[in-house]
Amino acid sequence: MKLILLFISAAIVNNFVLSYFLGICPFVGVSKKVSSAVSMGMAVTFVMVIAAAVTWLIYHLILVPFGVEILEYVSFILVIASLVQLVEMFIRKVSKPLYDTLGIFLPLITTNCAIMGLALFSVLREYNFIESIFFGIGAGAGFTLALVLMAGIREELELADVPKHFQGAAITMIVAGSLALAFMGFAGLISI
């Protein structure tokens, strides 16, 4: 039960993008088309889940026993960067069009603070191994949800009669803000 609550908490109530404001860069950058938003969400979710597992292992099996917790940032970055490289190779192999669509935002997952935040949160909140994996799945699902919602709205916006001075980045920011406001409604629903 706690695992399900953890998942819902990470995905909806404490959505990484819309209530922690982590990972805003791809949220704005890759949310023009629903299909590429879904793919980006999948890629980030994959990196998140594996990163959550590997960073937990590294933290609890290497850093804590040797008393070098100060190295958590460095080692986490190492894990995330390698994982992103792996995902990049994989996507390039499997789908070249997708690789072209995601463009610069694919290698930029490396510096996506949502993933680093996830790894640091699960250390900070002292999750066990299973919990941090579920936390990762939830965070990834939440990220995908936010991205797809945004992409859906922006696809509609293409057809909308937006006043000239609000077109482009401005209306995107307004939409992002409104989405974040909407997600505030979930605040306090689950406290974990």
């Binding site: 850093l63 008393g67 070098v68 190492l78 792996l86 994989f90 390039r92």
Partner: protein, 277 residues
Amino acid sequence: MELQTLLISMGSMGGLGALFSAGLAIANKAFYVEEDPRIAQVLDALPGANCGGCGYPGCGNFAENVVKGIAPVNGCPVGSSDTAKEIAEILGVEAAASQKIIARLMCQGGLEESAVKGVYTGIQSCLAAHILNGGDKLCEYGCLGFGDCVKACPFDAIVMGPDRLPIVIEAKCTGCGNCAEVCPRDVIEMHPENHHILVLCKNLDKGKYAGSVCTKVCIACGLCVRGAEPGEVELKNGLAVINYDKFGDKDVLPTDRCPNNCMLVFPSAKSVSQIDA
């Protein structure tokens, strides 16, 4: 103790780094993407100016699409027909002869020809003048003469003439179209080399007023229409327009009585002599 921490840090991070890099090396082998070697060959044959004249973001994308068969072999407007031939050889297909495309200034309203409505002292840029009040010339369709096209040309193929009209140096023009894009009045057009007769005016004003704006204005009198075979030249919206599908690559003026001499034969002696000077 301190030394021990140092050693542990170095050892653990070094170990992790080595582990991950080994993993990535294996993955790189496993997920190796075979790229068509012809893409690199085509890229070598291209001029590499990355001007975007072909419609793709750069020479790399163009090369990729040529090899895929999406882009035409002669799709590079900058490369000469030699480039097209070379690419065709790499791909083993026949290259259709590509006509060289040249930027043409469709205006003769220099300092002497055009009437002036005032003095423009604003930012010395066509775009600024166009947005503000249309520069100092009375004609609302002609060349503004601040040389945005000169700045936009990546090949130094446009120079500003003495009468404040840009001159296209045909030998240097590659047809990338950057100048036509920046011109706020669309007074530069891209024409194939075999369009020998051009109507060098864009003014849509009505006859009498048009005549007061510029001495080399097309007033749509229709003499050229009558002089040509039916359908070759038409009057559209107050302007003589040559229908090149029917007119073809003739290099004889349809009429020698164009009252304002706004039809010219290209390549013109005038543009060449001015550059030499």
